[in-house]
Amino acid sequence: MNLLFARFKATMNRRNNPFLVRSLAYIAVVQFLAANIGARTVSFNKDIRPILSENCYACHGPDAESRKANLRLDIEAHAFQSHGKYDPAIVRGNPYESPLYQRITTSDEDDKMPPPDSHKILKESEIELVAKWIEEGAKWEGHWAFGQPEKPEVPNATWGNNEIDAFLHEAMLTKGLEPNDKADRPTLARRLSLDLTGLPPTPELVKQFVKDNSPNAYERLVDRLLDSNTYGEHQARIWLDAARYADTHGLHLDNYREIWPYRDWVVKAFNENKPFDQFTVEQIAGDLLPKPTLDQRLATGFNRCNPTTSEGGAIDEEYRAIYAKDRVETTATVFMGLTMGCASCHDHKFDPITMTDFYRFSAFFNNFDGPIMDGNVYDTRPVVTIPKPEHTNDWIQVSGEREALSEAVKKLKENKAASLTAWIKDEGREYKIFTPDFKPSFELLLKINNREPESDPRKPTHPTLDISMGDQIDLARQGFEFNPDRPFTISCNLKLPVEEGEKQGRIPVVRQFDGNRGWRLAVANSNPSFPNRYQITFDLVHSLEDGNMISATTKAQRFNPREFSNTIIHVTYDGSGSVAGLSIRTESRQPFDYSKVIDNLSGSAKVESPLQIGNFTTGLIDPGLAAKSYKTGYYDKTSDGPKTGSINSLKIFDRPIYPFQFGIGDTVKRIKELLNTPEERRRSRDKNQIEEYYFTNFVPEYRELKHKQAINEKGYNHIYDQATISLVMEEKDSPPTARILERGEYDKPGKEVFADVPEFLGGLPPNATKNRLGLANWLVDPRNPLTARVTVNRFWQNFFGTGIVATSEDFGIMGENPTHPELLDWLAIHFQEDNWDVKSFFKTLVMSAAYQQESTITPEELEIDRDNRYLARGPRYRLDGEILRDKVLFVSGSLNSAIGGPPVKPYQPEGIWNAVAYSDSNTAHFFRDSGGALYRRSLYTFWKRTAPPPNMVVFDVPSRENCNVRRERTNTPLQALTLMNDPQFVEAARQLAERVLTHHGGSVGERISKMYAYAFGNMPKDKHKKILERSYRKFQSSFIEGRSDAKAFVKIGDSVPNSGHDLVELASYTMIANQIMNLDSFITKY
């Protein structure tokens, strides 16, 4: 009978003749099922839940907010009980009495489920399954992933090496599949090497393996590969997708962030085979372990890898919510396979995760003790500092001192708090300015083109002289004295260039110099990638010719010149004759560290030459740099006004002055204003300002401490700036809490909740600490049904291409069911029983016969199991972008095997960064590295999130803007273009050609075979060799005829080819190498 017709008729007659409905439909069902499902019992988990979750749970699932008719179909009890005015949705054994079935079969628009506006339409077969399921008694099952795995019985094996094969073979047979033969040894060596280390095997390794007659030859190879350091690099690279590791902040300015020690920690963890439970605990809560080691603290970088912002206008609370959500999503995806982020605005639509669960979980991360805005700096705290080895001891001292000083300041402030309050409250309070005796010996006020200086309206209280830019002043004749051999401070108010194009080069400020002796001050910007970064240089010279001088150039500092803003620079010298006695800073900042110093002064620097203001040749120390960056005319008095920058004032003091002594100008006025503002309207920074004023001017001990701090800071920064930093987690003292945000909106905080894990998973055990450490321990608790399953599934995916659960990121109700549920559970329990031993687990995978099969496919097999989920053949799929790049470097012999360290910038086409970057970003301009840095493994490539390396992106490498545990695998022409033409690949091809030409003689055919062997580990088939030889002859004649230009071709890349090679020969072999590196077999793991 025609089913559709039956249904149509049935519904048409429903109201008039219920009996007819039933009987007609019933006949239809029976007939249909007989034909389609046969005798099999319908499984709730396999057959029914997917239908309900896809079509019903949005309105009849866990989300209370959107629930209709008070009906839940995700909880057994609810589905079988009456709800509100409605009868139970399902009547066991009787579909036709079950409103659920009636509603999905009716054609009445008003009653029809799912409702037409949901755009969900049930398939015939789905409706029939529901009918049969109800008829069979509507047996309910819990979601497979949320129950404890139980170690299943291993099927009796008739094929294979280990338990994995037993499970797989059983399933294969039900699909009508038979396993493939074992792959040959070169194939196995290649597959193993690529999977375990991300690099191909050397021809020697393959040869050894092929020759090894021992029964455990394969196992020995596995062990050997697991032991290599390249193993950890490869596994870490995969993990870093999940951790969304990158070298920039990710949002807005997308500046550099220093967290690569975390990346190196991951490499090391894999190489040391850190058990996965420990690996987890340290990353989630290393900082909360008792007396955490540096490594354990580094591990917490996992939660600092999230994208952050400092966009002007962004609000802390807004981003606190965003970061917490990211951390929840990442942790839930990576360890639990749950899409918890869905529950941030409403209860989860499908999984039993409530909003409360979400915010409880987010509380774990909410207690993070650090700023929300990243400040666009590389070292947003909290950080760990790893000083250079030679600084280790000094660092301990200086940071100890620093802590003590800041403790002392804190204590002092506490002791004097009452007197501060009293002073604030006192209407008749006294104002005073502590003025040490530091009147300038003289002050120069500059007129620019006879205009008054734009700043500093104060009346000077000391001798002044009005001058113009470019003037030369004979100090003695003016009655001023200045001796640079004694302590002094030079303080000048500058306007830096505003226009970008004018920022580069060196801006002369002031000097008194006779060509060989004297002193001079200049500001420089020599790095176009940082248009707002300036260096300040001060020289004190006895003899330039002899290099008898002190010279200090500060590290580049970010200034943000605007049209109306001034920069004040102070140079203080203590007369000691040493660079250490020199301090350069801007107002309100600590002294800068130097990037370059000369410390070799033994004579006087005093000269009679006039003081020159701007507009002079600065004569840089580095002549090469001088030629490039020297530019006249910044302060050219003939030009039309101060377009590019100017000096507003210059003061020279005859004693050293420390930072806290500056800035007294309008202080009192400002403080009065602040105190006139009602207390509740004072912002925290206003309060700080009042406090600072009071302590500086009324409490002498405070000034002393500040002075000591300033000195300490200098030493501290000196070491810090050269040290390696890594972002880490630290916890506030308070218990972790969060507020439930209504609809997920940051400005609608509701009820406060305490940190906990989702209720449906039982919550934290009563004795657990309710913080990240409690979470970490819970994740790896044997009672947790998810972590081990999710982890082994992802590992499986890395070796077989697809997980046993294909949606490795989602083990929830909307995720895919496992193809081999028993195997998954067996693996999960085995992994835990084996103490979460990762190497051992990988070994179990690769020791299986399934893994070792040939990857050939028959058309029949393709028909039955296109995606190779049943593994009746070996895994076969395109290699990841990083592997492809590493592979060509490896086979060409140029791979730089150094492990770890700062990220590197290999070849990248011009303009990738600055086409998109915020112009003030410190990653706006890409400067390629040179030498060995070009040939590092891809996991060390500098990862700029908003413009990732294009030759990686094209191979589906995720942008690292969020957690990713499963990559797409596309096959596009852009990939072909990259592999054929990217200079990195072309150069590697030439290096491979050279490798063969240098080390191997023989005929073209022999050399081609050799080249092939480097690429694949074994010799080419004759047929392929012939094709390559034929290509060689074509290339050769093309280069000889000059259609193609050998000379130009072999020049590609930074490395220079050995001049001993014949050009045509080298070019032709290079093209052969390029050809080999573009073969499907080179690009594919098989």
Partner: protein, 488 residues
């Protein structure tokens, strides 16, 4: 057919290969449309029909061009004329207008919010009588071809989240962009160019400009072949397009012949359809190596075209050049191209900067519409103009008669949209006298995106992709409406 293709087609073996490749491309479709979780790879740059197979209803637009003004142009100085404000110079914006709306931290600390009326003159033009500022003399001429929507609004107030939002439907990075959705849903109209092309432009306003992010044309969780391909004006137009120095086309052909021959044998050995797909992708790459330079070589454009687009059209990388390029892309069957023009973030010195920015885009935008129209392509090409949010009426920083700045304003701004059955000469939506709040016909950016999809025959609720248990949509989970009032 271009000369190189023609040359190739004379060679029988190659002709065979080329055809085989095409046949395979279509055979490979199954994997594009198929479920997203298989172990095998998907092919192509969206070559062939998209995931939808058929559109939900007949679409008016075959292709689209999005002129994106990044940084947020000031609607108050260009389109949303507020003459009453002239008399309110430097008066405080009434609290009743601002209604405690969130401000950026750039102006939230300001003691007052003085009204800065536009210093630019406006004029009523066209049959529609739309008010257009003197900064846009050319746009005045196309005013009856475009629908001006003055009531666009968004939730985000800062650049990064706002531009991510309008481009991907979510403020947080990670979702597919509009172009990627179109590529995914509709597939390609050609077999030798990408489906979704992005063009970044130079600008003449303030040099410090807001960033763009590759996520703005990213594919999110969609297969990466749907991400926008940047067409660059310097270096290779498409990354790695050009053969290495010294390698002729013949040598590349020889190399590919060898690769194909071995791959064909590998196919026989392993039976993996991916291998065949790879052969066809390499062939398409080879075709792109000719078709793209062909596309970017403007020497076949007549003089009158250059005078239409203006002198900038000859300078690679300018907005005008990119507009002309976009027209060429549209002609060659590129589904969607998006031109980004930066430098619109006028927090200060607006009167100095804005005219330069307008000059960059005014004539070129006019030329694009005019050019499409004269080719009969405006009927099935959708053009959208505008940025990520608007700017405040009140002044940021010091206000003078000649100088002012404007902060970010998400509550209302203006965009225009034209072609593909959009009713030209429409003015839709109204803001209050302060240009601060919408008083009539609000259009959320979700509504705008729903309307854009509608033009392509797509029901925005039905174009979805399953990801982490969710049906992702460009318009998200909240309601969105198609703005039928601007459609013919």
């Amino acid at each position: 057919m271009n000369p190189i293709d023609e040359y190739l087609s004379f060679e029988t073996r190659r002709q065979f290969l080329g055809k085989a490749a095409k046949g395979l491309g279509i055979a490979a479709l199954a994997s594009i449309v198929g479920p997203g979780l298989n172990g095998g790879a998907r092919q192509s740059l969206g070559f062939g029909p998209g995931a939808l197979g058929m559109t939900h209803f007949p679409g008016k637009a075959k292709r689209g061009i999005y002129l994106f003004m990044s940084g947020a142009p000031s609607q108050l100085d260009m389109y949303d004329y507020k003459p009453e404000m002239q008399s309110m110079f430097d008066k405080d914006l009434p609290d009743s207008v601002r209604r405690g709306q969130r401000l950026t931290t750039m102006t939230s600390g300001q003691a007052r919010f003085p009204i800065a009326p536009s210093i630019f003159n406006f004029e009523r033009v066209g049959n529609s009588g739309a008010w257009i500022s003197e900064l846009l003399p050319y746009t005045k001429k196309i005013v009856d071809d475009i629908a001006i929507v003055k009531s666009i609004w968004t939730d985000a107030i800062n650049h990064d989240p706002a531009i991510t939002y309008i481009q991907t439907g979510n403020q947080i990075p990670g979702r597919p962009s509009l172009g990627a959705w179109l590529s995914y849903g509709l597939g390609s109209l050609n077999d030798n160019l990408p489906t979704f092309v992005v063009l970044n432009s130079t600008w003449t306003g303030r040099k410090t400009a807001q960033a763009l992010f590759s996520r703005l044309w990213g594919a999110g969780p969609l297969p990466s072949e749907h991400q926008g391909v940047s067409l660059r004006s310097k270096g290779d137009p498409v990354l790695y397009l050009t053969d290495p120095n010294g390698i002729s086309r013949e040598t590349r052909r020889d190399m590919l012949d060898g690769v194909n021959e071995i791959n064909e044998d590998l196919y026989h050995e392993f039976g993996d359809p991916e291998t065949h797909a790879r052969i066809s992708q390499y062939e398409m790459a080879f075709r792109m190596q000719s078709s793209v330079p062909d596309l970017t070589d403007l020497s076949d454009e007549p003089d009158y075209i250059f005078s239409l687009y203006g002198p900038d059209a000859k300078v690679p990388g300018t907005f005008a050049y990119n507009c002309l390029m976009a027209r060429r892309l549209a002609e060659k069957g590129v589904r969607f191209s998006q031109i980004f023009h930066r430098g619109w973030d006028q927090h200060g010195a607006l009167p100095k900067d804005l005219p330069n920015q307008c000059k960059d885009v005014d004539q070129a935008s006019y030329a694009l519409i005019t050019d499409l129209k004269q080719r009969g392509m405006l009927d099935d090409t959708l053009v959208i103009w505008g940025g990520e949010f608007g700017r405040t009426l009140y002044c940021q920083g010091a206000l003078s008669k000649t100088n002012y700045g404007r902060d970010h304003h998400p509550k209302c701004y203006t965009k225009w949209i034209a072609g593909a059955g959009v009713k030209g000469g429409t003015i839709y939506g109204e803001t209050d006298d302060f240009g601060y709040n919408i008083v009539k016909d609000p259009v959320h950016i979700r509504d705008l995106n729903a309307t854009i999809l509608n033009r392509f025959g797509i029901d925005h609720q039905q174009l979805s992709f399953k990801h982490q248990g969710l049906d992702l949509r460009l318009t998200g989970v909240e309601d969105a409406r198609v703005v039928n009032q601007i459609l013919a």
